[in-house]
Symmetry: D2
Subunit: 344 residues, 4 copies
């Protein structure tokens, strides 16, 4: 198979490159960059020095007819412009931006403050939360790869929401991300001297992943709700933890929660269910495609706490994209994704 990556020098793009270059089914890998076309890849990212001596190509040089699969890791708002002219029969596209994730144009406008992508293409996009949308992904031509926060959140909540045992209006999600989630371009908030030894909150009630989570809760669990969702920056490079709170329906206890999770994910390769109240930490999934989950039922408050950790650049971005590619091409879902978490 021949694969292309647009935006390879961003953090999502670099992880795509790392995973795909070791993927047993990928024979050729073409890398594209709008801003750095013409440069040597390894000039931009010295860790690839003498391993891959490839020039970055401009998007104009991208011939979609030569590719089997194209990953687009451009910033949100850019994919909508780049991808329409590149779509064609027999090319499967996996987009890592937010552009094709939101079904409703007005919702997109409100949260992204941008114009949504053109309708025909957007309407065909499949939301690539692999564990939940496997069948649609399999048949998809354009995958909207989920956001990092939605992946951690939805994998934790969907089993319980689908069973109808949570009070949807009580949902509170407190999410924390490593700083690579903010991307590769230097800004004040991600300056080392500002971010180090500090913990910050940002975009309170305004994060663009809110509608993505709500929409997926609706389409998959058939629950209509507005969530409270808050994002924080942790002084670490990778990792997301979502701590999620909800009121439990009457009669639900720890045992039933455990059964639901094991029933749902027991055979899923990349979701691991830990015992109740396990002290999860993000490093336990560092460098891997795992999503680890635990939960705690509090009888004092009749509330459940669900905890989810992922590597934001892998299960939250590039890893899930490769997982989707595997499904689309009928490969083993874990092909190229067998890296163990790296600890310490």
């Amino acid at each position: 198979m021949k694969a292309g990556i647009i935006g390879v020098t961003g953090y999502g793009g670099l992880e795509l490159f790392r995973l795909l270059s070791a993927h047993p089914e990928i024979d050729e890998l073409f890398v594209f960059s709008s801003s750095k076309a013409g440069q040597e890849l390894s000039n931009e990212v010295p860790h690839l020095y003498q391993i891959f001596n490839t020039k970055l190509r401009s998007i104009e040089q991208l011939d979609p007819g030569r590719l089997d699969v194209l990953f687009c890791s451009a910033p949100s708002g850019v994919s909508s412009e780049l991808l329409p002219p590149l779509t064609q029969k027999n090319l499967k596209i996996i987009d890592l931006a937010g552009d094709f994730r939101i079904n409703d144009a007005d919702t997109y406008r409100k949260w992204y403050r941008k114009e949504p992508p053109p309708a025909p293409l957007a309407d065909n996009a499949v939301y690539g939360l692999t564990e939940w949308n496997r069948e649609q992904v399999k048949k998809g031509e354009l995958i909207a790869n989920p956001g990092c926060y939605p992946t951690a959140t939805l994998l934790g909540l969907l089993p319980l929401l689908k069973e109808g045992i949570l009070n949807p209006s009580s949902l509170v999600i407190d999410a924390k991300s490593g700083i690579s989630g903010a991307g590769a371009s230097p800004q004040s908030a991600t300056h080392f001297s500002k971010a180090n030894d500090s913990f910050s909150i940002y975009k309170i009630n305004e994060h663009q992943h809110i509608p993505e989570i709500e929409q997926t809760i609706k389409t998959i669990a058939n629950v209509d709700t507005n969530i409270t969702f808050t994002t924080h920056l942790v002084p670490m490079t990778r990792g997301i933890m979502a701590t999620m709170y909800a009121e439990l329906a009457a009669g639900v206890n720890s045992q039933s929660i455990k059964e639901i999770y094991h029933e749902c994910y027991g055979k899923k390769r990349f979701v691991r269910i830990f015992n109740e109240k396990t002290n999860l930490f993000t490093k336990q999934v560092y460098g891997s495609n795992y999503c680890d989950l635990t939960y705690a039922v509090d009888e004092r408050t009749n509330r459940i706490t669900v905890v989810s950790v992922i590597d934001n650049l892998i299960k939250g971005a590039a890893g899930q994209a490769v997982q989707n590619m595997n499904v689309m091409f009928d490969l083993d879902e874990s092909e190229g994704l067998n890296q163990l978490p790296m600890f310490p």
Copy 2:
């Protein structure tokens, strides 16, 4: 004034030492340590080399009659044993452990898994949340200095709970702490190679600060409730952020919240109210006695988010203890506490 510090080589004790040694009203400072008595202080903590050449004294050498004020920064469970024989007329005691914070013996037993301190002393203890208990602190002989998490939490919630505009049963508090909160003795969870570049959750639904928060909500805001309260470790040395969620009573809006906070804290020296939805970060209070607050009203969910940041070792421990001392001795509340936050 003559002051003593028990447990000076712990992190709370070191901050007490730092603050008291620069306090204009303290003439003499005596330092005690159970485990390291007889050692030079600066052998144990090289940053004090050639500044304070003092031997650590054993508790047995502590003559309470020579002191005006005694700070006890021993671990929880130890204060109950150390302090009773040391109490005497004209000695004011400020205890930084949890021992004297919980009024109800069974509650103490349940959460601390220890025997509570003896009744006569315990019954006289005043909970030293300075901004809210100023009058009792003024007359107190034994101050139970608040925990770090309760300080950040209660300063954020009490104004709103007292006004009756939050649904108490909806309270969810998601708290994050720097690792100095776990104390000075090395453990697996605080080993650098384990904690660095990682974010972890711990003691889900079981943190001993839960009953302290609930009790204070009851005594100060007259609200009986069980809270959901979760604690996390951030890979940073100092700082706490509490992100707090509650449903709002009908008719409450941003403007009313703003007014309540300004009314309540407008003249309080150490609480700063930021505009709605400010991106707070813990480093903005690093090294200072400030508690910084912001909030956000979400009309979609009718829920408020309150955010509070403190330096856990200062406003969450030693700083508030000194603030209480100032109140007890009728000094200006900010005496010795005027350090600006240190940034970066």
Copy 3:
């Protein structure tokens, strides 16, 4: 006294502000910024919110006649332009940039790749390494405050070089700095995701502090030499360690080294000599004006290792600037600089 700070929102400027605002002899403090004039100071730096409600003034608004002392914390190359029109009788100026540190115009051009400042002003500048230039500083009108690396290096080496017991041509200085040394403006190398959990080397043999160190070795120890000097970035915010190596003259041993250091610095308030081979760490001076030193004599190689740690923003910048001000105005050298190191 009335003091002004140019460039107050940079990291050196913020530390100057923190120190001067608590200095007992400073009555009024005026703050200037080229790029942010007109803004509220606390908008730019939220840690000062509600403490100092001051507008940042433009340099044009600076009336040197109203000030007793002016600190200039502008970038190197800018001071040379800003300061000449501001000099006037009775105004003492302390410049934190590199502009006035180099005596020789060609040397300045070579290492800074800029034009040197105009001669009359430059010729009057006094190099403000307080412990070594106290008398000249006292009489100075314009102080060139030393660089962070030169301060750590020179305080360690000068006592030995002056005694003539080091082979000057054998000097190797391996210096490591926290990232705040690279300034407040975001760049690729100081982006959190790039710098965190990584250690880097930069400007090998090309750092502009090299001629400053060599010139001071010449002027103070009367030794002409070219040094090997290398700089590294440590993933921490503050702190410098310089590890310095030299061959020892015949007959020198540990005892003689110890005596030289104690003789030289025994009465100096801000230099602390530790026992031979002490495991120094930068945090032991964090937030303070101390320079801590240790050394080790290796009989196997006949070489000495000298180790020096400072807080780069304090003893390496703002703290030494205030120390120089104290000397210039005949105040106690430690006025306003009594903060203990903050640990942890």
Copy 4:
């Protein structure tokens, strides 16, 4: 092939496990632990949960006859006791401790302050610096896998020393390591609150890797010298940088250095030569078996600076051990070691 790992829950052992479990030639992997025998591996190290459900075996359960290769990642001083009874025909052993690296018994006693291993076994040990000892490794039965610091140092210096272009008595090596190098057991110096945001020096002139480096310089480059070698702890988990200094022989210039390095390592898979004065950073080799090198010739001082970075747990421990295994079993040297560096 069947492989065993002694000490699998240490940091070196965990990396061995990670690499070997993905190695195409390893069919079965047996894991041993003295202290944790009987426990589930994934209880000890949650990142392996549900991936490897293996009980840790005691050393007594180790049947050397069932293994093709045995990796011993026990602490220095323990290997000497564990390994002698386990040696037998057809079992290749790779030891990661220091025990078998030092040829001279007295030197071992002096630097390790322990008794050396028994002579017959020790005499057969081959020093496994793969790039330099390939032929001996190939025939070896017991490999003494190099220390992390010696690997970074020797790969940088040996090409130049062998060419005779450095003044051996001028060698100064300033080495910096991430904290995982100090092992998995919690201590005061590696406590997060002590180590974070701080940089420290330790074991000045006393590190046990000094005789290992000197001995290898002697055996491989035939140069007898005493080096100055200093070690520091960087607040990061993984990575070593060695910055090395030496006087150059007359007539040597940048071009000749470049040629020597390319000649020496041009065909070596895991050593990458960067252009002169490249700003290397440890993260560029994170998670990989690479050793990256740069250098700078300073005409002012006639000195060369050589810079080397490795991942201390991979090229500095487990990766090089696997590389040695590959050589011993005549496999491609890079089998199982093709992971790209992980950035960011």
